[in-house]
């Protein structure tokens, strides 16, 4: 094991990846010697994420077909402008009509997923190729990671988490309102209700399994034994955290599917399958 020597001066010189030939290393010219299909996973990640970005941007800017009584698309909820069709949230202000109500609220889910520790891994590998895969050389001459702006902003992930938790409450409320029918009477359930419920559940799982959440509920403590309740919470969040990547993908798909379902209802392409 590592010895514990008295603290020395430390490494205080900022790193500068020169991109030049590293000194005294084994002379191996190839960027990598991997023989497996290491490129497949980053490629799939890039394609799926790009598809989602294109679809969600189109829907967010479309400013139409996001509400089909009693369902509202998760891209447009909470509905905070008077121009927004949904009625599940207090309408705070009237924005310019050419700005879609989705634009105002986009910053929270985008900020949460953009600074998420899992998605960071995914897009650093797939888009920034830093690195594209383990032991595969990256193309950049210089690398400073998240040690300086603009990537220092990734450290604000916990604030995005707070926002995402509030959004989850709103989206859960939306799903519960799916038990009303078109006229506002309770006692209805359709496929749309189920879609919104599953979406809300997956969003909760994704949010609660977050690494920042794990830290805040108990990870910051050094004496779990003095905080048994927080220790129990931490162990449960830790269990969820092991599946954080899975929840990240599933909730991404569920948001898109819930939106697409509402879109199809609102355009009259399909009608809601009614259970009762």
């Amino acid at each position: 094991m590592t010895t514990t020597a008295p603290r020395g001066t430390g490494a205080v010189t900022p790193g500068r990846g020169s991109g030049g030939p590293p000194p005294r290393r084994a002379a191996i010219a190839a960027r990598h010697l991997r023989t497996d299909r290491w490129w497949l996973q980053p490629l799939i990640t890039a394609v799926v994420l790009l598809c989602f970005v294109v679809y969600s941007s189109f829907r967010a800017f479309q400013n139409a077909y996001y509400f089909a009584e009693p369902y509202i698309s998760p891209f447009y909820s909470p509905c905070i402008t008077t121009g927004c069709e949904g009625d599940t949230f207090p309408e705070f202000f009237t924005g310019p009509s050419f700005i879609s109500p989705a634009i105002y609220i986009l910053v929270i889910p985008l900020g949460f997923r953009g600074t998420c520790y899992y998605y960071r891994k995914a897009y650093y590998r797939s888009f920034w190729l830093s690195p594209p895969a383990c032991a595969v050389g990256e193309p950049h001459r210089r690398y400073t990671g998240e040690s300086r702006p603009p990537l220092l902003i990734q450290n604000l992930h916990r604030y995005a988490l707070y926002g995402a938790l509030i959004f989850n409450v709103v989206l859960t409320y939306d799903a519960i309102l799916g038990f009303r029918d078109e006229t506002g009477e309770w006692g209805h359930m359709g496929l749309g209700t189920l879609v919104l419920l599953v979406n809300a559940a997956l969003l909760w799982l994704y949010t609660l399994s977050c690494h920042s959440c794990r830290h805040l509920v108990g990870g910051r403590l050094n004496h779990f034994s003095r905080h048994p309740l927080r220790y129990r919470l931490w162990t449960r969040v830790s269990r969820l955290n092991a599946s954080h990547a899975r929840f990240a993908w599933l909730s991404l798909f569920s948001v898109a599917i819930a939106d697409a379902y509402v879109f199809l209802l609102a355009t009259g392409t399909i009608s809601d399958l009614r259970f009762f």
Binding site: T2, G10, T35, N222
Partner: protein, 251 residues
Amino acid sequence: MSYAGRFRVWRGDVTGGDLEDFTVEVNEGEVVLDVIHRLQATQAGDLAVRWNCKAGKCGSCGAEINGRPRLMCMTRMSTFGEADTVTITPLRTFPVVRDLVTDVSYNYEKAAQIPAFSPRPRDADGNYRMQQVDVERSQEFRKCIECFLCQDTCHVIRDHEGNKAAFAGPRFLIRLAELDMHPLDTTDRRDAAQDEFGLGYCNITKCCSEVCPEGIHLTDNGIIPLKERVVDRRFDPLTWLGSKIGRRPRD
């Protein structure tokens, strides 16, 4: 069941070298290190290879097998097809000494810079007392055998030699996490983690966790919690304010 396996092994030293082709007998149940030993015994008596326990516990026989950092003693030949050519090269991140042996001094220099374990005073009866739940997080990191495969695969230093001065690498970030989480330790290492050991350089792409032969979750259980602790201290105005007015003790 034996077969003649095809291998490409990097031979050379700091002045240069290249991959050399060999055909070596492979027997059922063998690992890559067995084949390297047979190669040494039968065809290349001067082949340099570092090894010790042959049981995945000493961390000496790290190399890159088909481009992936692995322990040679823990890589079964049955994971390759009989027709495959297996390429074995030294760890790329460190200076080569000869053939498959590299100079891993960088790691020991970083280890020596880490602020030492500083326990609080003993209890009145002369003992230290702590609960199992308080130390079990740190115990995961004590499984580390210091094979330095995580250091080798980390692109921060693998692809950018110049970053070695500022970045301690995943092995030592989890060492910092281990000490920072320890219930008896009294030193605050959060500033040092960020400023002196380059925690901010890590972009959590998890290659260190992928290659760890001990299955330590370096990123999820060590580096990310350490990053969050640094956020508490450096980037979160609420926790900073709470600590200043005494409402948020470190515990």
